[in-house]
Symmetry: C2
Subunit: 166 residues, 2 copies
């Protein structure tokens, strides 16, 4: 599938705004991801304010590109909704993946910045976005239209040595 | 994106075989998934033998549908390739998600059966597939063409209460 092939981490963005309609599509894509026993404990925080993007980009060592991003989505896990707590990060990773692919489909560049289970990073997100204790910040996805053209290209990661068959 | 909308867990399969070409596409999709610091520690075990599918379906309580499946892919994590061990399950979940979406794109039904971090389930996979100690079994994806037509339909999981904005 083309979208899976050409998705890449994009860290340099143009000034072009992402429409509310497209942000909505991204969140909807995240919510369609499978969850263990269909627990659907994922939630989504859309960050649009320049100030918040800049503060998060300053404080999160692995998310500097937020200072250049047009928006971000934080994938959260609602602790109170977990039937299968051991599967929570798998569920949230699946939602994050859906958002990256939907972004690629819409021509929007994205970069997955890992937060959970790094306590320092989780605390930064909680503090800046003033999250309630119920929510575990799992990932933050930087979003923006790519600064340069033709940024969606295929880098073949296939390695036959990683495939086994019975 | 249509494929994200219509992906569902499918557990009833027809007898139609999945071609080697399509199994290859599924594994390639898995390998394109993002990994933390690009560690690319995911590996893939393609299960085709009826005997193995049946034994795994018998032994794994949450993967009974393997007895009806045409094939399966086990997503593995190679312990020796981990720069960021805390992110290993996120990486493998992203690869699993890519495979589910590629399958949907190809008209192949799929069901994600969680394995890691359940030690009992991990041991069953290790034993049946005779895996070396280096590999952590993360998930097993049952695969087959859907028994009934029109199995790829949209179930809207959107819930506005799960969306926050700054």
């Amino acid at each position: 599938m083309e979208v899976i092939k050409v998705r890449r981490s994009i860290r340099k963005f143009s000034k072009e705004a992402i429409s509310e309609e497209n942000l909505d599509k991204l969140v909807r894509a995240g919510m369609q991801a499978p969850t263990a026993t269909n627990q659907q404990a994922n939630c989504f925080y859309i960050v649009r304010k320049r100030e918040n993007l800049d503060i998060l980009g300053d404080k999160l060592q692995n998310a500097r590109m937020l200072k250049d991003a047009n928006a971000a989505i934080v994938v959260l896990i609602n602790k109170n909704k977990l039937n299968k707590p051991t599967m929570k990060s798998q569920d949230a990773a699946s939602a994050t993946t859906n958002i990256l692919l939907e972004a690629t489909y819409l021509g929007i560049g994205s970069c997955w910045c890992g937060i959970y289970p790094n306590v320092e990073r989780m605390d930064i997100i909680r503090e800046v976005l003033k999250l309630e204790e119920d929510f575990i910040p799992f990932s933050i996805i930087a979003l923006g239209y790519p600064e340069n053209e033709n940024q969606f290209y295929f880098i073949d990661r296939y390695d036959e040595a990683k495939v086994f068959r019975d």
